[in-house]
């Protein structure tokens, strides 16, 4: 027997009840848990960025560029877990060449391409174009050539051009919001459209996926903003932080309501699958659902946020509370993805039995690979931040708030813009 068969044989002992014999193998592993987590962060970070540009929430401005770069870094990594998971990764190009138009998975490839090229890269380019030109002038080669290429050899930093850039960013963000909804909603649809699986196949699935994505994205940007300002030894903008955490709070409320609705609805309707699903969550998903997703991932952060908003704590205590809340939320949303992806495969479609998922540690679909895939976006983000400044150039305000004027500034009038 091969090692794989040996592993599956061991799982035979761990089945409870009856399963169709082919169901013993859990096909979508931790990599497929990581994938919706990552695309969720992309959508959530972008929605946060859209708060600034479309809904004109000025307080959140300091995190705008960070949110964009976060979305880009995570979006670039998103295809990796999928590629690694394929049984025949060398044939991945077929999804692009001969996609089956009835398959959500195939169509997602195009949604992804649109979002990367038509929304995110375009928005990053328009947002950074002026700074790229300035940096190209300032830096030595080879970096100056890199900047020149990134700006597509553009040279116009005039007032009119910058105004055009800003309008373009706004227009792209307006298109980007439904695109972000489509990006992660589609992932939810990939699960939600599977009628064979009652844990997945539900109308609410894309919506719940999207809301939890927004929660995780906003929480991530808060986390990164706090870490970044601490690393740079800068003062954090508490107004910004307070505003974003308010939005986080609203998002968590909506997410919780949707998940509670799903739960109540299933329990009340009491369809045939309710018995085995009840066994699933009490026997197999108890820790990951009740403790991690609901208690640690939702109730406690909600409590912390309520506490931080209602009492007048000092800045340091608020920062500590926010930090704790966002870490717990990340844990909670990751558990949510686990509960959906792995949970949906732990019960038999005969509704009569439960299986077990043995996660390998090494191996192409193992824990180590998943951790590397999760760490990769942060590495990419670090590179991106080095290349693309998170603060608008010539606006690098000192703590006194006075703008700094570097030598060779193209247009002094640019100083007054935020």
């Amino acid at each position: 027997m091969t090692a794989e068969a040996q592993g599956l044989s061991e799982l035979l002992e761990q089945i409870t009840g009856f399963i169709y014999p082919n169901e013993i193998e859990i096909h979508w592993s931790i990599l497929i848990v990581v994938y919706p987590y990552i695309t969720g962060l992309v959508a959530g970070a972008f929605i946060l960025a859209s708060l600034v540009k479309v809904f004109n929430v000025k307080e959140v401005q300091p995190t705008y560029r960070l949110a964009l770069l976060t979305a880009l870094a995570f979006l670039l990594v998103a295809p990796f877990p999928l590629l690694l998971h394929l049984g025949r990764p060398e044939r991945f190009y077929e999804i692009l060449l001969t996609p089956n138009v009835t398959s959500a998975m195939a169509m997602f490839g195009f949604v992804y391409a649109w979002y990367l090229m038509g929304v995110l890269l375009l928005e990053v380019w328009f947002e950074y174009r002026r700074d790229l030109i300035l940096l190209a002038a300032r830096e030595r080669s080879p970096m100056s050539w890199v900047y020149r290429a990134l700006s597509l050899f553009s040279t116009d930093t005039s007032e009119a051009a910058v105004v055009f850039d800003r309008k373009a960013v706004r227009a792209i963000t307006i298109i980007g919001i439904p695109s972000a909804f489509l990006l992660h909603g589609y992932v939810g649809f990939i699960f939600g459209s599977v009628k064979a699986n009652p844990w997945w196949g539900s109308v609410l699935m894309p919506i719940v996926f999207l809301m939890s994505a927004i929660v995780s994205g906003i929480a991530l940007v808060i986390l990164l903003y706090m870490v970044l300002t601490a690393m740079r030894r800068e003062a954090i903008d508490m107004g910004c932080l307070d505003t974003i955490t308010s939005y986080l709070f609203y998002a968590v409320i909506v997410d919780f309501s949707l998940e509670a609705l799903d739960f109540i609805h299933r329990l009340y309707q009491s369809e045939e699958s309710v018995k085995i699903l009840g066994k699933l969550i009490t026997h197999k998903l108890f820790m990951s659902l009740f403790v991690l997703q609901i208690l640690l991932g939702m109730f406690i952060p909600l409590g912390i946020l309520v506490l931080a908003k209602s009492r007048k704590f000092n800045d340091d205590l608020r920062k500590l509370l926010y930090f704790t809340a966002v870490i717990l939320i990340q844990l909670g949303i990751f558990s949510t993805r686990w509960n959906v992806v792995i949970g949906g495969q732990l019960f038999s479609k005969s509704f009569r039995g439960l299986m077990t998922y043995k996660m390998e540690v090494m191996g192409i679909e193992g824990l180590l690979t998943a951790l590397v895939v999760l760490a990769l976006p942060f590495v990419i983000l670090a590179v991106l931040i080095r290349v693309l400044p998170t603060k608008r150039l010539d606006d690098q305000a000192s703590t006194t708030g006075e703008p700094v004027v570097p030598a060779g500034a193209a247009n002094p009038a640019a100083l007054t813009r935020s």
């Binding site: 060449l97 001969t98 090229m117 380019w125 174009r129 597509l152 553009s154 040279t155 051009a161 373009a168």
Partner: protein
């Protein structure tokens, strides 16, 4: 109208990308990689090219006419040759090269004939541990015409489970033929010469009615007991009242 410089540059880049993609898709990439009808056709080709491992019973008839005819008259007429002898297409191609095995040990026949409660009633089943232990099955039963060496006298030869159920019931001392009319043909063609079953309430009343000459059976008033339902719609005749 002055087109902003950004738009000019972007349009150029996008045009290059789109042109490159179109060129790649329609010119560089060969049709064989893309055309779905070609893929489907080649899949069917590959499927049809797969080797046939089971020849089918009619293939055996060509050379093994005797066994084939013998089998077609007996209880195993619907059992394919390869059900016992395994895949034999290679043997059909080149008889000398490969000989299909003929199972001779006691482990094989019980795969079908060992008693299993989930098997349909009346399917011939034995308990392999007590049924002539140590003797190979083929010593008494020719596999191509598996008639038992002696015609079974008791119904329990095939209907052992019913017999076991009845043996602990209040009907234990009743023979099967008390209620069922069985012809000798039933032993040769069990599914066609089917035994009869009682059809009226009066039958059970012969023992269980108030007027019955039998002393032991419990008595009921036939005219009122159980409305117009037939007796066995409530009472299982092989284990009445299910005690034990």
């Amino acid at each position: 109208m002055r087109i902003p410089e950004q738009i000019k540059r972007l349009t150029l880049v996008i045009a290059v990308i789109v042109a490159g993609a179109l060129l790649a898709r329609f010119y560089v990439i060969p049709r064989s990689l893309i055309a779905m009808d070609l893929h489907r056709a080649s899949t069917v080709e590959r499927e049809l090219a797969k080797p046939v491992k089971l020849a089918g019973s009619t293939a055996c008839q060509g050379c093994h006419e005797d066994q084939y005819v013998k089998k077609s008259k007996g209880f195993h007429k619907n059992l394919a040759c390869e059900g016992c002898h395994g895949p034999a297409a290679q043997h059909a191609e080149d008889p000398g090269a490969v000989k299909p095995p003929a199972p001779r040990d006691r482990k094989f026949c019980p795969l079908c004939h060992a008693y299993d409660a989930s098997r349909p009633t009346g399917f011939p089943q034995i308990n392999p541990t007590v049924h002539n232990p140590l003797k190979p099955c083929i010593a008494c039963h020719s596999p191509h015409d598996p008639v038992p060496p002696r015609t079974p006298q008791a119904c329990s030869a095939c209907h052992a489970q019913i017999e076991r159920t009845k043996a602990v019931s209040s009907h234990a001392l009743l023979t099967c033929t008390t209620c069922h009319g069985v012809s000798e043909q039933h032993k040769k063609a069990p599914r066609t010469a089917v035994p009869t079953k009682p059809t009226t309430r009066d039958f059970c009343a012969k023992c269980h009615g108030q007027d019955s000459p039998q002393k032991d059976p419990p008595k009921i008033d036939v005219s009122t007991h159980g409305g117009s339902y037939l007796c066995w719609q409530c009472h299982y005749p092989h284990l009445p009242e299910g005690r034990g």
